[in-house]
């Protein structure tokens, strides 16, 4: 087990290096002016430009810029072009909202994905399965921003309930419980809309894996022992087909964070998705580098934890 963990940690360190390279060079190698005010503004003198280049190390060679940016990122010195505040601080204050959104979306994706997947697999090939599979592809095919708009229009037109942000502003809450309910209500809708694609993807994984497991010999044995179908499905088959669900989270997380950009923009949710979109609009290089790096590193960390947990539970994995 120790050697497995050490090996995984070494690979992770290599990956962190690759990730830092990608997040730096995707931003600096793309042609285009680094100045937030554009290249051709005649009101900006050469001295101002030179000072700007010096301040953000743009006059250094590429490898040195990479080094300075990464050192700045890890020591917390890297500052935003927009307001001069440390990038880590700007991201740190936005992270909790996005984490809450994504954790909820993952829980929703996993639970509905599991329910739909198991039900489909048990009815494989018959009409409930066919209908559900068309339905999952429909969820994948829904443009997130479009369905969000339709839902917002629908709810505000028919119920007139406040939806945007993290709380209903200007409302005085009589107690903490109602304040929490308000927070939950503001979280529920964006999280569910964010989770649509995840539900579809997870249900497909569970279905495929469950169908495979249901064809195994030990399932036939379990049935032959006279166990009822519920026990066979949920106790024998489901436990052995849960693995793709857990590995699936590794693929789900980047998709969710990507989707957060649009969902957070629409729902005025103060997370890193909106911060990223603003940074894109402002051409804020340091923030963009840090955001790309940190989101990828979070996903990497999640995968590492999942792998280690997995190896702890299932000894076969350690030998891979």
């Amino acid at each position: 087990m120790t050697s497995f963990i050490i090996r995984r940690l070494l690979i992770t360190m290599v990956l962190v290096f690759f990730i830092s390279i990608v997040s730096f060079f995707i931003i600096t190698l793309t042609p285009g002016s680094p100045y937030p005010w554009g290249e051709l503004d005649p009101k900006i003198s050469q001295t101002v430009k030179d000072n700007f280049r010096k301040q953000f190390h743009l006059d250094e060679p590429m490898w040195k810029q990479y080094y300075l940016n990464m050192r700045g990122l890890f020591s917390g010195d890297l500052r935003s072009i927009k307001d001069g505040r440390p990038v880590l601080e700007r991201i740190g204050e936005r992270l909790p909202a996005t984490l809450a959104l994504n954790v909820c979306a993952i829980v929703i994706s996993l639970s509905f994905g599991l329910l739909i997947g198991v039900y489909s697999a048990r009815n494989a090939g018959r009409w409930p399965d066919v209908t559900l599979s068309v339905f999952s592809f429909a969820m994948l095919a829904l443009p997130g921003f479009w369905i969000s708009y339709l839902v917002i229009i629908g709810i505000t037109a028919w119920f007139g309930t406040p939806l945007l942000g993290t709380a209903s502003y200007g409302t005085v809450f009589p107690n903490a419980a109602s304040q929490f309910l308000d927070y939950a209500w503001h979280l529920a809708l964006p999280a569910s809309l964010l989770a649509l694609g995840g539900i579809a993807a997870q249900s497909r994984y569970v279905r495929a894996s469950m169908i495979e497991t249901l064809g195994e010999d030990y399932i036939r044995t379990a049935r032959a022992k006279g166990l009822d179908e519920e026990t066979v499905s949920y106790k024998h088959a489901l436990r052995n087909s849960i693995r793709p669900l857990i590995t699936g989270i590794g693929g789900l997380l980047p998709a969710l964070i990507g989707g957060s950009i649009i969902i957070e923009s629409i729902f005025a949710y103060p997370g890193i998705g909106r911060l990223g979109y603003q940074a894109v609009l402002e051409r804020d290089y340091p923030t963009l580098i840090a955001l790309n790096f940190i989101t990828a590193a979070l996903v990497l960390l999640g995968n590492l934890l999942a792998d280690i947990l997995y190896a702890a539970v299932d000894p076969r994995v350690r030998l891979e």
Partner: protein, 291 residues
């Protein structure tokens, strides 16, 4: 029943033809393709049919669907139906060309990785792992925004970022196929590695690659729509499904038709591609899905 010999490809087509959902969705994809080609040509020849997609008319702005404008008009009085039809080829070309770019990279990387194995495989797969950690949409948004949004940039960036899945799949196929007898025979006959990779192994991995390609098209279409929504899609006045919604979002409470119809177009087309791709996948896998 007559016992006839069918090649694996013919058997796959036979299974595909029996798949009702697959046939309906493929039919829809074909219609979509014809619409895109027809109206793309009309657009190129400047034929204003059913209306000029860029003709503005301030008297006719924000009109709900009527006999004159079946799907209503936008804030500049442009006909939404005409814009949808003339924008179809942009959405489809983003889908097709971006998938082509990602396939080209993914197939080469996956083939090299799977065929040669060893440290080459190790390095390439770690690069794939690293790229897969990134939230793809954010990476694409960043690159497109910094490059400047144009049709070509969007296509290239989507292609450059989304090849990792294909690379993994092709690698897995190559790992199994390189042990097969015909590959050993080819090697024994002294064929070089590239001939074995491209002439002998690749054609046998064609079916799963084709399936991922079909399933990649709606992903690219949806990504372009999302970029358009954030203002980094194909730029106006060129109509695309994404930017009709994006322009219409300021009027959501007054002009629902500006949001509803282009969104439906994206949704239904993406769904048709997904269902057709999934039916192909079912047809390509030799074992029965239902067991």
């Amino acid at each position: 029943m007559k016992d006839e010999f069918l090649s694996p490809g013919q058997r796959m087509m036979q299974r595909f033809r029996r798949d009702r959902i697959g046939m309906i969705s493929t039919g829809f994809v074909v219609v979509l393709f014809l619409v895109a080609v027809t109206f793309g040509t009309l657009s190129w020849l400047d034929v204003p049919f059913p209306a000029d997609p860029n003709l503005t008319s301030l008297e006719a702005k924000l009109q709900p669907p009527s006999a004159a404008h079946w799907l209503g008009t936008d804030n500049l009085g442009r006909d939404v139906l005409a814009r949808l039809l003339h924008g179809a080829y942009i959405s489809l070309s983003v889908g097709f060309v971006a998938v082509f770019v990602s396939l080209a990279i993914g197939v080469v990387v996956g083939a090299i990785s799977g065929y040669f194995g060893g440290w080459v495989d190790n390095v390439l797969m770690r690069v794939v792992d690293a790229i897969m950690c990134f939230p793809t949409f954010f990476l694409i948004l960043t690159a497109v925004a910094l490059l400047g949004p144009s049709l070509l940039n969007i296509i290239v960036v989507i292609g450059l970022v989304s090849w990792t899945g294909t690379a993994r799949l092709v690698r897995a196929e190559f790992l199994t196929l390189r042990e097969s007898e015909y590959v050993r025979a080819a090697r024994g006959l002294g064929q070089n590695s590239w001939a074995i990779i491209f002439r002998h192994i690749l054609p046998n991995a064609a079916a799963p690659i084709f399936v991922t390609a079909v399933l990649g098209i709606p992903d690219a279409i949806l990504t372009e729509a999302g970029l358009s929504f954030l203002g980094f899609g194909v730029q106006p006045p060129q109509a695309t499904w994404g930017n009709i919604i994006s322009d219409g979002k300021s009027y959501i409470l007054d002009a629902w038709w500006l949001i509803l119809f282009p969104g439906l177009a994206i949704f239904v087309s993406a769904l048709a591609f997904y269902l057709a791709g999934d039916a192909l996948r079912r047809a390509a896998s030799s074992k029965s899905e239902t067991q």
